[in-house]
């Protein structure tokens, strides 16, 4: 792995630099701005794609790792790494960012410069979050994501955008600050055991933690992630944020930001605190199952398309959580797939909603009806995406959903029995919505002369449709890439469970040390 070129850093900072450059363009030059933004996102995509081939299959550890000193006094370092878990998610990120940028050409009427700059900055933060291998660095990226997203919702959003933006920001932050406390606790715990000041994830992976301590740490981490996921009952920010966000914002929010939560579980919460995780499994799985059913039921009665999709996300992410907590190969792989699937299909759904919103400036189901007639291509694309979301075999949604159910079933039959009802319910709410929007006679005359998907829009959906079928028909290459990392995570969980359970039931949470928090090289004192 003698990587000389800091590839991952390049991936992280290229969009940021592009954002800065775009911000310097004159505000009037909208065409140039769009062009640059598109080029930047496509270039980023081109830079990221080789990750797919260059990821060494069967290699469970970090690849393309980078390590640089950052805050030596604290022991935090700028260290990055990729593996089979993060690479697919990063690829999803770059693809959807590009798609969102191209998709937003017409939607963003005011201040495209700032809009695109923020979107690219957001991309940087998201990629950084996936690649960070140092907890403090991770936290920095994690929180940094909030700001651009907040502005995207707040400035370019709908009528209640301010409320939604603030709610999004504060709710998410409320969860994550406790994680910061837990990170610090972990840091000192590690220091008291090993004497080493470090925020490195790998070091924490080796740290034995007493079960009693684990519970608190896990809860702090889990809250942050559960809000992001969002798990029932922490989900109410999501419908608000989605409804108010501009299309590109919704796309990114649904496709990537929500994955941060589940990524956090798989990368941090579960392997670091396996005993606590196991102890709390009934609660988490319970919430996931409630989320599946609840999200679907509530989605069913939504009058607003975006809200419907938002609640469906709650349901889908419930599947992901269920898969993770099945704690077996199938469940984990299914959960990972489901993360990607949800990114693709829900991202596409938001784009689709954006397409008609651009044309009609409404998202209420009741304002549509009979759209198939004027918009056959649009309707067909919508149908395919919708079926992927419903999990029809042959599309990506099925593979993930089935693997999750399989994993869950093998852990606990009843989990799968309850989760399976989501299969029925998702069909109900999606098809009913589709029926009301697309079928029947054209109820509103203004819908009659809507224009169908333009070339650009078709171009936007093409990669997503491709992914839908490719992952549905041939998921194995992806599975092969993820498996080693997932196996490592599973092994880590087992191993650490064993280690922790050998420890004494109670351990002094933090043995006090006299040495200072900061290790600073002394300067000569005369």
């Amino acid at each position: 792995m003698a990587e000389t070129f800091p590839w991952l850093s390049w991936l992280i900072f290229f969009p940021l630099v592009s954002a800065a450059l775009i911000a310097l363009l004159p505000a009037r030059a909208e065409r140039t701005i769009r062009l640059w933004a598109t080029l930047a996102s496509v270039a980023e995509l081109a830079f990221a794609l080789p990750l797919w081939w260059r990821l060494i299959p069967g290699h469970p550890g970090w690849q393309f790792a980078e390590h640089r000193s950052w805050l030596p006094g604290l022991g935090s370092s700028y260290s990055l790494g990729a593996d089979g878990i993060s690479v697919p998610l990063v690829l999803l990120t770059v693809i959807l960012t590009a798609v969102a940028i191209v998709g937003a050409y017409n939607a963003v009427e005011k201040r495209p410069r700032e809009f695109y700059a923020l979107l690219l900055a957001l991309e940087s933060a998201m990629i950084g979050t996936f690649f960070a291998r140092d907890l403090l660095l991770f936290y920095v990226f994690w929180e940094a994501m909030l700001v651009p997203m907040y502005l995207l919702i707040g400035v370019w959003g709908g009528p209640r955008r301010v409320y939604a933006a603030i709610k999004f920001f504060i709710y998410t932050m409320a969860g994550s600050v406790l994680m910061l406390v837990a990170i610090l606790w972990l840091y000192f715990l590690n220091r008291s055991v090993t004497g080493e000041s470090t925020f490195a994830l790998d070091a924490f992976y080796r740290l034995p933690i007493a079960p009693a301590t684990q519970v608190w740490l896990f809860l702090a981490f889990a809250l942050a992630f559960a809000i992001k996921v969002p798990m029932f009952p922490f989900h109410t920010w999501l419908p608000d944020a989605h409804v108010e966000a501009p299309t590109a914002g919704s796309v990114i929010l649904a496709a990537i930001l929500l994955k941060m939560g589940t990524y956090g579980f798989i990368r941090f919460a579960m392997p670091l605190f396996p005993v606590a995780s196991a102890q709390l499994t009934p609660w988490i799985v319970g919430l996931a199952l409630i989320g599946i059913v609840y999200g679907a039921l509530v989605a069913m009665v939504q009058p607003d398309l975006k809200k419907l999709v938002a609640y469906s996300s709650v349901s889908h992410l419930g599947f992901v959580m269920l898969g993770l907590y099945a704690l077996n190969a199938q469940g984990m792989a299914g959960a990972m797939l489901q993360m990607l699937n949800h990114g693709i299909s829900t991202g596409a759904l938001f784009l689709l909603v954006g397409v008609i919103y651009e044309r009609r400036h409404t998202r209420l189901i009741a304002d549509f009806g009979g759209l198939w007639k004027p918009l056959p291509v649009f309707a067909s694309v919508f149908l395919v995406i919708l079926l992927s979301s419903v999990g029809l075999p042959g599309t990506n949604g099925f593979v993930g959903e089935f693997l999750v159910l399989l994993g869950a079933f093998r852990t606990n039959v009843w989990w799968a029995v309850i989760a399976g009802t989501g299969v029925i319910l998702s069909a109900i709410y999606m098809l009913w919505m589709f029926q009301r929007v697309m079928f029947g006679p054209v109820k509103h005359p203004e819908n009659e002369r809507l224009s169908d998907l333009s070339m650009r829009e078709r171009l936007v959906f093409a990669p997503l449709l491709l992914l839908v079928f490719w992952l549905g028909v041939q998921p194995q290459p992806l599975l092969d890439r993820m498996q080693p990392a997932l196996d490592r995570t599973l092994a880590l969980v087992r191993e650490r469970t064993a280690v922790s359970e050998r420890m004494a039931e109670t351990q002094e949470p933090l043995p006090q040390t006299k040495e200072p928090m900061l290790v600073v090289p002394a300067r000569g004192i005369r």
Partner: protein
């Protein structure tokens, strides 16, 4: 190698081409593409089956693996195809009947605006159905299973501007989904205990891992059967099929009569090894099948829509197939599946021809006397009606007789009586249909009268072919052949694996067998006679009957109010509950708590601001209070 993957791939290719260059093909090109692909597919199937037949009996199973679909941990599923006698029968029926119906459709849909879309869906359906039939594992079968469901959804709602069609499509999909839920859970159970979803491996392992009658296998098979009831419109999930008649008639013929709805039967037959291990499940299959046969038959008595009558008859016939399987007569079930495909497809196509001729009139009460005006349609329809009624030597007679024989021979007398009763009912309502449509005086609207014409050759030709099949189709399975008839022998390699508990029971004496045949023919004859008497000779009798048994008639014509019941018990409460869940629980309680926290802080802020009076005295007072409290800390110590 017979290249099995070609069979489903051809229609898929047609779909792709249709999507990509369909707009440049024109109607003719589209038709050629669609029909041609299915025809080629049929040819490929024939070739493959011949290759299969050329093999010695016990090597008649060809597996072809295309690639690994997914492999995670110890779970793996391939995209692999299996051709054995059972799937061979299915493949031939599907491609054969499918081809005919494609041909028919070119005429029937000739003036529809959605011509290209129609064939797109239809080809997609062929692909899915063939995948279903040829899959060598449950997961791939499920791909086809859901795929046909999707196509069914799309085709039922083909005329999407009609709300009723759209509603019917959605209903079909959702009801099927309920079945699929069972199917998925069944698959999960099988994998969790059986260790594989590949048919061969699973069936080989099944007798070793599952004890006969154990809870696991019973649950698994019942769950699979739940899937089958959805797909094959059995109680309690049959309600979508009659509504599905909103689709174009060729669709009804292909999907909702000949092929897709029989998928459940095929699946049960395919899994006979498993069902044999679960007697309770088998019993359930038999009872549900028989009950459905009878139940749907009674509803069929009172329907006036020509396609609805046929739909209920389909439900009823499917019931026959299931109870055949339930009593262990898998071969009989498959036999009936095949013959039913011929005559029911014919019936639908014939009905379609009538509808087409009458400018989309479907109500039997506004038909009559069409025999002379539509001679080809009338002739073929009569053959089909005789076939379904079970009159020898038409196809239906042989298969239905075999089913009843199997029921009787295996000792399921109750089921047998139900079957006999059902046969009589079938004959009655089918001939009622026949009489109302083709005999008697014309009750046509003047407008329909004006446009009345016989269908074009592209529609008549398939009718004729199917009529031929409806006549001769049953002859491959004559009763009382030594060592089983031809079809049974062909299927033997499939059905003789697993347990053999039911084989012995099949042997009853010739005398009994003859009696059974006579009884069933007599039952049919009674039905036919009654139909002629009540609807042709003395129509007023039927009116009187209807008045005498008004309650019963209401029950039948309103389909036992099952739709209304489901609506009131399941749909409406869920909808209402969800609304409440959203409006009250989600917005008021969950989100209310979140916002409540915000309000609490705002309130606290307002209160704290009150302390900030702007008066120096207040400030000093709180300052001093602080001092007092701090010093109090010392004093306390």
């Amino acid at each position: 190698m017979p290249l099995l993957w070609i069979i489903p791939a051809l229609p898929l290719l047609a779909v792709a081409l249709n999507l990509l260059i369909g707009d440049r093909l024109g109607r003719r090109g589209t038709a050629v593409l669609a029909v041609g692909s299915v025809g080629l597919s049929f040819a490929a199937a024939v070739r493959a089956v011949m290759a299969l037949a050329a093999r010695p009996e016990h090597e008649r199973a060809i597996t072809e693996t295309a690639y690994t679909w997914m492999r995670v941990g110890d779970f793996s599923a391939d995209v692999a195809f299996l051709l054995d006698p059972l799937s061979a029968v299915m493949a031939l029926v599907v491609t054969g009947v499918g081809f005919l119906i494609h041909v028919y459709s070119t005429g029937y849909m000739a003036h529809d605006a959605g011509y290209r879309r129609f064939f797109l869906y239809l080809n997609l359906f062929m692909f899915s159905m063939l995948t279903l039939v040829l899959a060598d594992n449950f997961l791939l079968l499920f791909v086809g299973w859901e795929g046909v469901g999707l196509c069914s959804y799309l085709l039922i709602g083909f005329w999407y501007t009609r709300p009723s069609a759209v509603e019917a499509g959605k209903k079909a999909f959702i009801v099927n989904r309920i079945g699929d839920y069972g199917f998925i859970l069944g698959m999960l159970t099988l994998f969790a205990w059986g260790g594989s979803l590949q048919f061969e491996r699973l069936f080989a392992a099944a007798p070793h891992v599952f004890a006969v009658g154990s809870a696991v296998i019973t649950a698994a098979t019942l769950l699979l059967f739940l899937g089958a009831t959805g797909k094959s419109a059995q109680l309690p999930l049959y309600t979508w099929l009659p509504d599905a008649m909103e689709g174009p008639t060729p669709v009804s013929a292909l999907i909702h009569a000949a092929t897709m709805v029989t998928a459940g039967v095929y699946m049960v037959a395919r899994c006979h090894v498993l069902f044999d291990l679960a007697p309770a499940a088998l019993q359930t299959v038999a009872v549900v099948g028989a009950a459905t046969a009878l139940f749907a038959g009674t509803i069929g008595l009172a329907q006036n829509d020509i396609k609805r009558v046929l739909a209920y008859s389909t439900v009823s016939q499917l019931g026959y197939m299931f109870f055949a399987c339930g009593v262990g007569g898998y071969g009989a079930g498959v036999f009936h599946l095949m013959t039913h495909a011929f005559f029911k497809a014919l019936l639908f196509l014939g009905a379609g021809s009538v509808i087409h001729a009458l400018s989309d009139e479907q109500d039997l009460r506004r038909m009559g006397g069409l025999a002379r005006r539509l001679p080809w349609t009338h002739g073929t329809m009569l053959i089909a009606t005789l076939a379904i009624a079970g009159i020898p030597p038409f196809a239906g007679f042989f298969s239905k007789d075999e089913i009843l024989h199997a029921a009787f021979a295996s000792g399921h007398y109750g089921v047998w009586i139900a079957g006999l009763l059902g046969a009589s009912l079938t004959a009655f309502y089918m001939f009622r249909l026949y009489v109302l449509a083709f005999r008697g005086a014309s009750r046509l609207t003047p407008e329909a009268e004006h446009h009345l014409h016989e269908s074009p050759p592209s529609m008549i030709a398939p009718l004729v072919v199917l009529a031929g099949l409806s006549v001769v189709g049953g002859w491959i399975g004559p009763p009382m052949m030594e060592g089983g008839h031809w079809l049974a022998r062909w299927l033997r390699p499939v059905f003789e694996t697993g347990t053999h508990g039911h084989e012995a029971a099949h042997h009853v004496s010739r005398g009994v067998e003859w009696t059974l045949i006579l009884l069933s023919v007599a039952a049919a004859a009674v039905g036919i006679y009654a139909a002629f008497r009540y609807y042709l000779q003395r129509p007023e009798l039927s009116t009187r009957l209807r008045e005498q048994y008004a309650a019963l008639h209401a029950l039948f014509s309103n389909k036992y109010w099952v739709d209304e019941l489901y609506d009131a018990v399941v749909v409406a409460p869920i909808h209402r509950g969800s609304l409440r869940l959203w409006r009250f629980w989600d917005e008021k309680i969950v989100d209310g708590t979140v916002n409540g926290v915000g309000y609490v802080f705002e309130g606290a802020s307002a209160v704290l601001r009150l302390f900030q009076t702007g008066f120096v005295g207040t400030y000093a007072w709180f300052f001093t209070l602080g001092v007092v409290l701090l010093v109090a800390q010392l004093v306390r110590r």
